[in-house]
């Protein structure tokens, strides 16, 4: 079984989906219970990965699976090529971990066409896991597109008032990026094929060794980078996100924030950067600038939001800015920080969307002005909300701090010092928008009579939140659990990029940056 662990894990939800087709459509409880069990089993299947010490010693790919799939001799070959390293490991774990939580969040929230909802959730899980474990670019692309469809329907059918607009926007935006990426993938393949380089279908490990000329890299990186930047999303390609998040049902928002956005950042780490190591250098100033702009811009816009969910969505733009800044530092601290920040964002923002879901289910509104003084009626909720709020602010001792701090350390050590300084102001803004929101929702007197009879969290809701709270502190206090398995992979990736550079291109720095240097 261990030989095919990744396949089993990836396709188990799909198998579950097939079974769901045989469950009567009006049996809501069974549908939800069954889906919960399937996602839980998937999580259990994935657990041995997290406990395998092989990741601490070797940064390469493990749990590899390979078989030829389509082979038209000398013209086209793609393989079923799976494997994970210490980077994808944690994203896989995040996915299998967040899914049962997302399912539990639907208990009361979804009552229309539950069967379809659950089937799509499971299909989505297979898509996400597949994308994280694919080592064949073409296979990755298939899973990448596979994720898009269920999410489109989740937003379009179970979404809020403006769901069609949001779903179409989400779809077109992502599809435009995907198509560019597809063209680039095919180009890389045929370039390799013609140059006679030793390749193995669309296997990325062989692609890493290609010596692509700089100007090809330039355009290819643009295509990949554009596609992933939409997914992250980076400023100014972010406007699909607030719409998609606001309209999506809670479970959709949680998965979107926790996992789907990570596809963009993961895409940079796994594909765009190591495949085109020279072009990256050219684009770092631009991308780092956009990351930092995203941090400040996302924070400022989040500050003024009147809808809690939109606020959280814009805060995502800011948080992902830290991830990207860390990644573009292109050193161990920055990368590790960026990757752990991906996990953190999944935990904290996922939790925030659940929290928004809790109050939405009670009041059917998300307007901040409708609330106030909820802490009186919901003390347990108030406590959990506060913990997550401070995790999102990045208080030391919580997960958010570890990621942000390492990303900043990395940026400081690389040529991105001034970007890091500007990004650090994000810690101020984060406190402003989160605490202001918390104050307006939770503190003060109850002024709106509709809030008089709110009930505190139910046992189910507490169960949903507890694992997330646990990870807030786990990553905050003992992040080495994650780093010891992640660092070898990051180091290997960095070595690969450095060895594979055709020409060393100096990072362009603003003139002011030299002030510190000369001293």
């Amino acid at each position: 079984m261990a030989d095919h662990l990744l396949s089993i894990m990836t396709f188990f939800p799909l198998l579950g989906m097939l079974f769901i087709l045989f469950i009567p459509r009006d049996n809501d409880g069974l549908l939800k219970g069954f889906t919960l069990v399937v996602t839980l089993i998937t999580f259990v299947i994935s657990l041995p990965l997290a406990f395998n010490d092989v990741f601490t010693t070797s940064g390469g790919m493990h749990y590899k699976e390979f078989s030829e799939w389509i082979n038209i001799d000398g013209f086209f070959q793609m393989n079923y090529n799976l494997g994970i390293d210490g980077i994808s490991l944690w994203l896989v774990m995040l996915t299998t971990f967040i899914m049962p939580i997302a399912v539990l969040s639907t208990w009361k929230a979804v009552d229309k066409n539950t069967k379809g909802f659950m089937a799509l959730l499971l299909l989505l899980e297979t898509g996400m896991l597949g994308a994280f474990v694919s080592l064949d670019l073409f296979l990755f692309y298939i899973f990448w597109e596979l994720m898009l469809i269920p999410m489109y329907f989740l937003i379009g059918i179970w979404g809020g008032k403006n769901r069609i607009y949001a779903a179409v926007k989400f779809f077109i935006y992502t599809a435009v990026g995907s198509l560019l990426m597809l063209v680039a993938i095919i180009f890389v393949y045929y370039y390799a094929l013609q140059s006679g380089a030793p390749i193995n279908g669309f296997g990325i490990q062989e692609f890493y060794m290609l010596d692509l000329p700089y100007n090809a890299q330039y355009w290819l990186f643009l295509a990949f980078g554009f596609s992933f930047a939409i997914k992250v999303p980076m400023f100014p390609l972010h406007t699909w996100l607030p719409d998609a998040h606001t309209e999506a049902p809670t479970a959709g928002s949680v998965i979107l924030a926790a996992v789907l956005l990570k596809m963009g950042t993961y895409g940079y780490v796994r594909f765009a950067m190591p495949l085109f190591p020279d072009a990256v250098q050219t684009f770092i100033p631009l991308l780092a600038t956009l990351s930092v702009v995203g941090i400040i811009y996302g924070s400022l816009v989040a500050m003024m939001q009147e809808d809690v969910k939109k606020l959280v969505a814009y805060s995502s733009v800011a948080h992902l800015g830290f991830v990207m800044l860390g990644i573009f530092a292109m050193n161990l601290q920055g990368m590790a920080g960026g990757i752990i920040q991906m996990i953190n964002h999944g935990v904290s923002t996922g939790a925030l969307f659940l929290i928004v879901g809790f109050i939405y289910e009670r009041r059917h509104t998300r307007m901040i002005s409708e609330f106030g003084g909820l802490a009186h009626k919901m003390p347990i909720f108030a406590t959990i909300f506060l913990i997550i709020t401070f995790s999102s602010i990045g208080l030391p001792g919580t997960n958010g701090f570890v990621g942000e701090f390492l990303a900043l350390v990395g940026a400081f050590e690389s040529g991105l010092r001034w970007y890091a300084v500007v990004a650090t102001t994000g810690v101020i803004f984060a406190a402003v928008y989160m605490l202001w929101m918390y104050q307006r929702v939770m503190m003060g007197k109850i002024t709106n009579p509709a809030n008089e009879n709110l009930s505190d969290l139910s046992v189910r809701e507490i169960v949903v939140m507890m694992p997330l709270v646990l990870f807030v502190f786990w990553i905050g206090i003992a992040p080495n659990t994650f780093f010891e398995k992640m660092n070898p992979a990051v180091e290997q990736l960095l070595n690969q990029m450095n060895n594979n550079k055709v020409a060393v291109v100096e990072i362009q720095q603003p003139v002011v940056a030299n002030l510190l240097e000369t001293k």
Binding site: F405, V409, A420, V427, Q439, G444, F483
Partner: protein
Amino acid sequence: MYNNLWLIPFFPLVGSIINGLLGKKIKNEKVIGGLGTLMMFFSFLVACQNFFGLRASEQKVFQESIGSWMSVGNLQIDWGFLLDPLSAVMILVVTGVGTLIHLYSIGYMHGEEGFYRFFSYLNLFACAMLFLVLGNNALVMFIGWEGVGLCSYLLIGYYFEKKSAGDAAKKAFVVNRIGDFGFLCGLLTLFWALGSKGVWTMNFIEIGENAHLLESGGVLITVVTLCFFLGACGKSAQLPLYTWLPDAMEGPTPVSALIHAATMVTAGVYMIGRMNVLFAMAPTTMMTIAFVGAATAIFAASIGFAQNDIKRVLAYSTVSQLGFMFMAMGVGAFTAGIFHLMTHAFFKACLFLGSGSVIHGMHHAYHHAHLDDDPQDMRNMGGLRKFMPITHWTYFISCLAIAGMPFFSGFFSKDEILWWTFASTRGSYVVYGIGAIAACMTAFYMFRSLFMTFYGEQKTDARAKDHIPESGLTITIPLMVLAGLATVGGLIGIPHAIDIFHVGNLFHDWLAPVFSQAQQLNVIEAHGSASVEIALMILSVLIGLAGIAGAFMMYMKNPEAPGKFTAKFPGLHKIVFNKWYVDELYDFLFVNPCKRIGTFLWRGFDVKVVDGVVNGVGWVAKGIGAGLKYTQSGYLHNYAVAMVVGVVVIVGYYVFG
């Protein structure tokens, strides 16, 4: 040594967790409060053990680690603790004063709805504060640094149903975050700067040992220390970031005593002391610190003149006294700064707890008489010494101490600071002058508060005036202990000039190892004869007496004098009363523009421009489609015409082209 430093923050952490999770079920106030206090007391005992162990030991630096926090390449951060004379003093102050204030809170918070919540937060605060002072690297310090900020947020917002409390809590955290921004920038720059010399570390001892790698007085060290100083300004409420502290008085009074007077707000001073090697290498930064401290001292004192809320007077007094500590750090009088930190912890905690006792009594009386008057307004008080003798005497002693009357603790610490500003190689007569004036003002407004509260005619509403009780033992015992410390606490730091019994300056000798390294790199000393020192001492006593006399004249002899004065200078009074309109200025300069920019970026830019382009592309595509759809009409003759035209064009191209 004992390797049990971790126990010191651990005890209050346990107390916090137990009370936080189970307090609601326990309900019994004695159990909850007893547990919290006991945990602090255990922590105090361990602190004592370590203090005496360190005293007996030849070695003056002990480090212990309980595991790795972050291990990523050359960034290796441990959960490490550091015991040296400096942190030993701090843990004694934090756990000692902390225990007393916990005890006090049992009485003061009696009957409050969130009693368990209060003790949970207060224990958590102590835990964070102990992390701050015990951390052996900057990141563990930072966890405490932000942790105390969190607890401060929670405790200021303790009465969360009050909007003003919520606002104050948020303001405190956000303003502190501005400082934290500085701290982070400083830390990152330092880490990178030392790293580029081959030393990747955030450990304070290693930073001290390798500081010589950086150029003394260079731009880099100046930038680093200025960044750290910005952090200190936030936490220790210095100009321009002091505005949160007066608002923080929204929290219950024990909180004001513990967090906003005795411990947390001194974290900035402690941090500079901890990194004294770096600061000593940056004369520009030191000068900035001295001047900011002096400016804060006099500025806050001026506001203290016109406040009528007893806690606000004490709050501005705290800001002002912190200014003194920063003056000390700025002129290189690190020992004096820490000394004043300690004595200030005694007398200011006593003053705050005394004010709490008064408020408690007033509140009780108003409650009894079913009145809604403000129990904190000194204009409703007067003559309280009859009703509250213990509170009165302890308050009186603390006022003498803060005014710097001879042989009270404040006398020794404040005079040492003023002496250093005058005589240090990094000193300046301007700083001395400002400090001396601020000292006079301190004596004035403190005795003003004393007279308004405890002396003169009682102005309390007639229905309530005879129902003001002296507080119970849990409140008065901490008052008496602190008043005792405020009286004799200064004797461990007797300056050589007046050391007639040859006890020696114990405090100075104790801390000397901590600051020896800074001295090796940059000699900073106070030079001057003993006679000048004694002359200055006499002068500052006279200055203090002048302040007291002024208050006596205005508030005891001629009670109508203050009214006349304000009538004569209405504009001046209004400005001072309104705290120089600094809050309004900040709203105008920062808060409102930020909101406006945010709104613009959202409604103007994000929705109209960015999304406008996105939707625009959609509309264009749609429009093109809508136009082109007419070509697909389905009529055969249309297609035939199109085909003919096509053929003609192609043929024409080849024939004529």
